[in-house]
């Protein structure tokens, strides 16, 4: 058994090497690390690849990793030797941690191109280019929940028997981490106490988004932590209008998804070209119905039913602040919910 296995591996390796040699001879290759659902055949990646390859005379390769946390872990493990040229899919909670590994994006006037919520300061990050964004929100079914809470304070104050919610673990899931930042933004040093008050309404905390969303769709909880664009999915893709999100007066914490080129990229020119390409109408039009997020650039048309009410206020913490305090905040979160 063993020798067969070994020789098969060797053969596969050899195949891999000749394949990459063949590429090297023909066209330059731009390697983009992203998360799985972006790279999947139903995600935005295949369309972006076709569009970009028409322009660049290169080969664009998306490598789909398990999550945005996976992208971060991968480039940290690979260090300076990473074969990746571009990382796409981190959000602003993670950017400061990756900052040392990336180069300046060099894209002109990013701030002028963006369509972020008006209450936020202009985009000033010199390393990361946003390509889409969304708001975290509690999604509910208007057939079963007629009076959702109108603010975070109201949610926290709701009597336990009236409402059961599902959220995600801040240690393993981006929305879960986002909710932790949301309460931190609203309550600062009081966040722990607010979590304790929220705790009795939490039916369960799942590892990832899909488990809690499944619980919600099966009627096990009244509300689930997700995105404001989740009801948009149900409206646009399924024609179901009874899902909505609870609009909170204090504003909604946001996820801004960004891309950047690695310092050690061997294709810096192509990488820059790709980053600029992300904000073109061509790519931006793909985003809403393939990634189910808001496109980042101005004047991108949205499909019918994607947006049925005005956007809420956005909340966003400084990424350096997050990087500095995340361990303490996570500890506070876990402690509050373990009691």
């Amino acid at each position: 058994m063993r020798p067969i296995l070994k020789s098969t591996i060797m053969l596969m390796l050899a195949g891999q090497m000749t394949a990459s040699l063949a590429h090297a001879e023909s066209k330059p290759e731009l390697i983009v690390y992203t998360y799985d659902s972006f790279a999947a055949e139903w995600g935005p990646a295949p369309q972006i690849k076709t569009a970009f390859e028409k322009k660049c005379d290169c080969q664009l390769t998306f490598v789909g990793l398990d999550s945005s946390l996976g992208i971060l872990a991968r480039i940290r493990l690979e260090g300076d030797n990473s074969p990746a040229d571009v990382i796409l899919g981190l959000d602003t909670a993670q950017t400061d941690i990756a900052r040392d590994a990336v180069a300046r994006h060099g894209v002109d006037d990013v701030a002028g191109k963006l369509d972020l919520p008006v209450n936020l300061p202009a985009w000033q990050d010199l390393h990361f280019v946003p390509y889409d964004w969304g708001y975290f929100a509690f999604v509910y079914d208007s057939n079963t929940l007629t009076a959702p809470p109108a603010s975070m304070a109201e949610l926290i104050a709701t009597p336990t028997t009236d409402l059961r919610i599902a959220i995600q673990d801040a240690r393993s899931s981006t929305p879960g981490f986002g909710l932790m930042l949301w309460l931190k933004t609203l309550y600062g040093a009081e966040a722990g106490a607010q979590w304790r008050a929220l705790a009795p309404k939490i039916a369960t905390i799942t590892k990832g988004w899909s488990e809690s969303y499944d619980l919600f769709l099966n009627g096990e909880v009244d509300m689930v932590l997700s995105y404001t664009t989740s009801p948009a999915y149900h409206r646009v893709a399924e024609d179901k209008t009874h899902y909505d999100y609870a609009r909170f007066d204090e504003g909604h914490y946001m996820q801004v998804e960004v891309a950047a080129m690695l310092k050690n990229s061997d294709q810096p020119e192509l990488a820059r070209q790709f980053l600029a390409f992300l904000l073109t109408p061509e790519v931006q039009a793909i985003i809403p119905t393939s990634n189910w997020m808001y496109p980042a650039a101005k004047n991108t048309p949205l499909p019918d039913g994607f947006e049925v009410s005005a956007k809420p206020q956005g909340l966003l913490l400084d990424d350096a602040l997050i990087a500095e305090h995340q361990q303490d905040w996570l500890k506070e979160w876990v402690t509050a919910l373990s009691q």
Partner: protein, 586 residues
């Protein structure tokens, strides 16, 4: 002709060397993996988070919360293991007693299925029964709707919320009781006829029979199985989080995940992994020490027949009622959730899934890996079992004892090393050598073999030790006295016929476990290579719940088919050897 009943070298597999190498490989690989994680530098400067080694112990690992987590994980796992036992022992006795009842064949097949469904799918099946919108609550609502409003005191209360420790334990029983039944039932079925006849002559009651026949048949495997199930539950992660209803019910795995992924504190991840491994092995040592070495009588070697004709008390009315009650519990606990999943699958978007090339690619990959993993697990488990037997034959010295302990632990340890730790370590080890995506199928295969091996070894070792202690008697039974049965001929004419059933069982189990395991694929999946559990995860992750339901159903069907294949193979292998010997030489 030697007439000793001691195991002779006659039908030995090639002695201990391959097994010892395997054990060394298992431990070496674990150390290599953990070493690789510790060897990565540069993490700290990007993260700005990793603490110097000296401060781990006081400030990080042994803070008060770690103690609470370990306590929570240990007590949950023990409760789950004992709960599974409490279901499996009476269920196995009942299933043996009522072997020929109508529909029992289907019940036996379905009962075995739960063990291998991806955990989060199974959790959703359980919720379809016990949850807020589950079958039971809907039935209660229906009853309450009929009850006239004039009689409010008759109205039934709804079930309390499902989430919490009870849900986790119930889910673990759902997974692991079937595994125990799979192991216990054949033990009862292979009790010699004479025992049953004796019981009949003496007019034993069902209780006495359980005390003197059925329980002793299961006894040697009870503690090892409790240990195995304990390990499964101790390191369960997504399921515990999903049903735990908060952070009070928790395991160390989520801390390890967070150390690797958010803090990027690899030394911390290694330390926590070692803590988890140490704790689990500690409990395992205690359980295995307590386990009796020998069966109270020699297990028969050939027959596996239903004892029902010989059981006098089987016709007793109250016993029949009790057994029907037990069947009802099994159906409620194990079959209903499966039925709910199957129903969702049937009413899901069947066409969309079955028409997608992606689905069939994933199915092909999963089946290929499952078969390869089944073959490897059977081979390796036999090698380990034979090595263990040979070691027992040697004069007992501290050295042999040590080696035996290393072997037993080395097999089990991979159950409690989190997939993400293993996957990250592989990535570090392979990154300079190979494209990890190109070797992904092999990584998934190795991970699945390591998952299946402990179970296979546990199922094999008891009977293997007994069988090798009775070579001579087996030869008499098969009419093979005087034949030269060295080497391969021994394997073919003694080992395979004697162990055929078990080999078939572990082959089926290993394939099924491999089919259902998400494991390391999350780290190495790519557009070119996915497996069925990963596809399921992807579908659920993009709102396609009805496609996911279909995929889950297909996965269950495939797993049943592989189980059946394993069983069939087992029956075929276990034919008495002289039959085919004569067929070849007539």
């Amino acid at each position: 002709m030697p007439r000793t009943l001691a195991p002779s070298a006659n039908c030995a597999l090639p002695a201990t060397l391959p097994g010892l190498l395997l054990v060394a490989g298992l431990w070496g690989f674990l150390l290599l993996a953990l070493g690789a994680l510790l060897g990565v530098d540069g993490g700290a400067d990007v993260a700005g988070g990793a603490a110097p080694i000296a401060t781990w112990f006081d400030s990080r690992i042994f803070d008060s919360r770690t103690g609470a987590i370990l306590w929570s994980a240990t007590s949950q796992a023990l409760l789950s293991a004992l709960g599974s036992l409490a279901v499996a022992v009476p269920a196995s006795i009942m299933l043996a007693r009522r072997y020929r009842w109508f529909g029992m064949r289907v019940l036996r097949l379905l009962v075995g299925l739960a063990f291998v469904i991806p955990t989060t799918v199974a959790a959703s099946g359980l919720l379809a029964i016990w949850g807020r919108q589950g079958v039971i609550n809907q039935a209660i609502d229906a009853v309450n709707a009929v009850v006239p409003e004039a009689l409010p005191m008759v109205a039934l209360p709804e079930l309390p919320t499902f989430f919490g420790l009870k849900a986790v334990v119930l889910a673990h029983i759902f997974f692991n009781a079937p595994l125990m039944i799979r192991v216990f039932l054949p033990r009862i079925l292979s009790v010699p006829d004479t025992h049953w006849r004796l019981a009949r002559m003496m007019g034993m009651t069902a209780w006495q029979q359980g005390r003197w026949i059925e329980f002793p048949a299961m006894k040697p495997l009870i503690l090892p199985m409790v240990g195995l199930v304990f390990l499964f539950c101790f390191s369960s992660f997504s399921l515990v989080l999903m049903l735990g209803g908060g952070l009070r019910v928790t395991t160390l795995e989520v801390e390890i995940y967070s150390a690797l992924r958010i803090a990027f504190d690899l030394p911390m991840a290694v330390a926590l992994t070692l803590l988890q491994v140490g704790m689990a092995l500690g409990v395992l040592v205690v359980l295995l020490r307590l386990a009796p070495r020998q069966t109270s009588w020699n297990q028969p070697i050939m027959t596996m027949r239903a004892p029902c004709d010989d059981i006098l008390s089987a016709n007793n009315f109250s016993l029949k009622t009790l057994d029907i009650f037990m069947i009802a519990i099994l159906v409620l606990l194990l079959i209903f959730p499966l039925a709910a999943l199957a129903w969702r699958g049937v009413s899901g978007d069947m066409l969309a899934v079955l028409m997608s090339a992606h689905f069939w690619r994933a199915m092909g990959n999963s089946v290929g890996i499952a078969v390869a993993s089944g073959v490897l697990v059977v081979g390796l488990a036999c090698v380990l079992a034979e090595t263990r037997t040979q070691l027992t034959l040697r004069p007992i010295s501290p050295l042999t004892r040590g080696i035996i302990a290393l072997l037993e632990m080395g097999v089990m340890v991979y159950l409690v090393v989190p997939a993400i730790v293993m996957g990250t370590a592989w990535f570090i080890l392979l990154r300079g050598v190979a494209n990890v995506f190109a070797v992904a199928p092999f990584l998934v295969l190795v991970a699945n073999v390591m998952l299946g091996l402990p179970v296979a070894y546990r199922l094999l070792i008891g009977k293997w030790l007994a069988m090798r202690g009775r070579d001579e008697r087996s030869r008499l039974a098969y009419g093979l006295q005087g034949w030269n049965l060295r080497g391969w001929r021994g394997v073919r004419f003694l080992t395979i016929p004697l162990m055929g059933r078990e080999i078939g069982l572990i082959f089926g189990l290993a394939m099924a476990m491999s089919m259902g395991d998400l494991g390391v694929i999350a780290l190495f999946a790519s557009a070119d290579f996915t497996t069925l559990p990963w596809l399921l995860y992807q579908q659920a992750g993009r709102y396609r719940v009805d496609e996911a339901a279909v995929t889950a159903l297909m996965l269950m069907l495939m797993v049943s088919a592989l189980f059946a294949l394993g069983n069939g193979l087992g029956k075929w292998l276990a034919r008495p050897p002289s039959l085919y010997y004569e067929a070849h030489h007539a």
